[in-house]
């Protein structure tokens, strides 16, 4: 007999083969799909996150855990209605105009996705207008911008200006990150949040989502 705890353990260990067997067994035994998700698969990722933050797990291990969770999800998802799948929120993200650094952004996507957010990656060298267009198209809760250069960080400001000009600022929270960026700079240009690196980004997103009243700030 499979247990939810075993599923969590599979996720923690990145055990891709076993997770399918276990999840299928739980389904066959009649466990509610939503329970398998929340108390098995996501519960596993909830163990992973603090271990990553404290340095006890590496990114590739977190990725394997996330893959494992997703493998389990594939079996459970068809059994429940779309609206029931827990999603913490939707995010679009890109590296700003003129900047090609994407590894930090990619890490952040990976971390945030593995914690239950839906993320749309706009890639690198994303022009101001393209951020606006993507907001219109995807209607996200959060917009993330990344920059690694002292010159391109100024594009975060012009992107926010563009978003304001297009009347979209109130609909979203904007978070920024990258080597030259600071909390103070985030305040200066009117971003809602700043994250030092991928390991703290999830908490920042959670904070953004939990205080929607600040959206109008």
């Amino acid at each position: 007999m499979a247990t939810l705890q075993e599923v969590s353990q599979c996720v923690l260990e990145g055990d891709l083969d076993n997770v399918k067997v276990l999840v299928q067994a739980l389904i066959d035994e009649g466990t509610e799909p939503i329970v398998i998700i929340n108390e098995g698969l996501i519960a596993g990722m909830n163990i992973v996150a603090p271990l990553f933050k404290s340095g006890e797990m590496f990114v590739p291990e977190v990725m394997e855990s996330a893959d494992t969770m997703n493998e389990g999800m594939k079996l459970v998802k068809p059994l429940i209605m779309d609206g029931d799948i827990p999603s913490k929120g939707k995010m679009i993200i890109g590296t700003v105009n003129g900047d090609l650094h994407d590894i930090g952004k990619n890490l952040l996507i990976m971390m945030v996705e593995s914690r239950g957010y839906t993320v749309i990656d706009l890639g690198v060298d994303v022009k101001e207008e393209d951020f606006s267009a993507a907001i219109k198209k995807h209607n996200p809760d959060i917009v993330g911008m990344s920059s690694m250069l002292t010159t391109t960080m100024m594009k975060m400001e012009s992107t926010i200006a563009q978003i304001k000009k297009d009347g979209l600022r109130d609909k979203i929270k904007i978070i920024i990150g990258g080597a030259p960026v600071t909390q103070e700079f985030a305040n200066d240009i009117g971003a809602d949040g700043y994250s030092m690196d991928a390991s703290t980004a999830v908490e920042l997103c959670d904070r953004m989502m939990s205080s929607p009243e600040e959206l109008s700030a």
């Binding site: 590739p60 090609l100 590894i103 990619n106 010159t151 030259p180 700079f185 390991s199």
Partner: protein, 458 residues
């Protein structure tokens, strides 16, 4: 035309030390790099600002202030000479007239400092590798490629001493290898894509340099191995993985020298010690006095074999004493004073060994920069001429070297390190000898949207 390095240029540990190499390079101002003394190499960048037609005069003013301030302080500290690196921001390469203008401002500041203080200096011009602005990157033609060549040529004509670049061939694949800590993918990216691009790129840069009275100096695996180091410092990937990537990047860096580069290799290329052992060319290195640009576990040991000693990069921001680049040249100047004082006493080997001892047992990434380790691995690498196989060999030898060191207690290790080394060893051993066979194996895991095989001659 292509040089073949089939034996070590430096065979003896006692000949392997900072400040000296078999093939020194003499700058236009008469600095002999690798000829006995270590020179400071100063780098700098703009503070947070936009760069466009409107703000260019401001940017030019900032670069003028930087070069004047830095060279004045270097002269006050009796520096024997200064290597200046102008590492271009993307905007300055995109619009070559911007880059050319700033390059001239720097050359002019250097000329003035020579007149005013009698200070020798030389300029390394390092454009941005624009080619990855196309996604997937177009490596061998097109506007970006043409623009880079145009910039190099004019800067050489204006008086630059050295060409460098942090080229990015294969980086689009290597990024994935890093976050997955996947050594097979890394070897494909560095040993096939990276080496192939370096062959193409450096053939052109060497020709251009030679035609314009300039030296082709060398490349850096910054976007590969230094990204690995930074990720490891953050605890994102294992330190042993970053250490293995460092050495795995060596055959790629070597391609520039096979094509005719002469050094000094680029500051952030910690591949340098291997390059120096194999080619005998001078190298630039950076460590503790580059901490304003990145933290590292190799703050002292990185100086052990340096011919120029760099701060990597610092913004023009105000610190309590003065502007940050002036602070940087002061720190570099004192560092090289100490190294050169030891040389003057004939104590350079002893001082080298102190630099080595102080770091090498504390981190695997420092361990692979030990001069004896470098010579041992390099001696094997020169026996293999195929770039791909040399890259695989570098990874294999490093894994073996680290396993031995950990078992023998010669270097601090994390309890998870041995597991990762075993995993890498297994992956490396699974790589076939035939590059074509390897490529077809890799096709199943490669994201073929990310790169264009024909841009790498595949």
């Amino acid at each position: 035309m292509v040089k073949k390095f089939d034996q070590l240029a430096i065979k003896n540990l006692d000949d392997f030390v900072y400040g000296t190499c078999p093939n020194p390079v003499t700058t236009k101002s008469g600095m002999v790099i690798g000829g006995g003394i270590v020179y400071p190499e100063i780098n700098f960048t703009l503070p947070g600002m936009d760069v466009d037609d409107e703000t260019l005069p401001k940017a030019v003013g900032i670069y003028t202030d930087i070069i004047d301030g830095v060279l004045k302080r270097a002269a006050e500290l009796y520096s024997p000479g200064v290597l200046v690196e102008f590492e271009l921001l993307p905007e300055f390469t995109h619009f070559p007239k911007y880059g050319i203008e700033v390059n001239r401002v720097l050359l002019n500041g250097m000329k003035e400092a020579a007149e005013k203080y009698g200070l020798k200096s030389a300029l390394r011009t390092t454009p941005n590798d624009l080619r990855e602005f196309d996604r997937p990157p177009i490596m061998r033609s097109g506007q970006y490629w043409e623009t880079m060549l145009e910039l190099y040529e004019q800067c050489a004509k204006d008086g630059s001493d050295f060409f460098s670049i942090e080229s990015t061939g294969g980086k689009e694949v290597h990024d994935d290898a890093l976050v997955k800590a996947d050594i097979r993918l890394a070897i494909f990216a560095l040993g096939i894509l990276g080496c192939n691009d370096m062959e193409f790129l450096w053939k052109h840069l060497v020709e251009l340099a030679e035609a314009n009275n300039c030296f082709a100096a060398g490349d850096s695996a910054c976007g590969y191995a230094n990204t690995a180091m930074v990720l490891a410092e953050k605890g994102f990937i294992p330190h042993v993985f970053a250490a293995v990537i460092r050495v795995t990047a060596v055959p790629r860096a070597l391609v520039a020298f096979e094509q005719g580069a002469v050094g000094p290799s680029k500051d952030c290329a910690y591949e340098g010690p291997y390059i120096k052992a194999i080619t005998g060319c001078p190298i630039s290195m950076e460590g503790k006095s580059a901490a304003g640009a990145h933290l590292s576990p190799v703050g002292n040991i990185s100086a052990a074999l340096a011919d120029t000693w760099s701060n990597e990069s610092i913004q023009q921001v105000r610190l309590l004493s003065d502007m940050a680049p002036i602070v940087a040249i002061e720190q570099l100047s004192y560092d090289v004073r100490l190294m050169n004082a030891a040389t003057k006493n004939g104590q350079q080997l002893m001082f080298r060994d102190l630099l080595v001892q102080s770091d090498s047992a504390l981190d695997v990434q420092a361990y692979v920069l030990r001069p004896d380790v470098v010579l041992r691995i390099s001696a094997e690498l020169v026996k293999e001429q195929n770039h791909f196989l040399k890259t695989r060999l570098a990874a294999k030898l490093t894994v073996a070297e680290l396993k031995k060191a950990i078992v023998e207690g010669k270097v601090k290790s994390d309890k998870r390190d041995m597991k990762w080394l075993d995993k890498m060893e297994k992956q490396i051993d699974s790589i076939p000898d035939d590059p074509d066979e390897f490529y077809s194996q890799m096709k199943s895991v490669l994201n073929m949207d990310k790169f264009i095989p024909s841009e790498y001659g595949l």
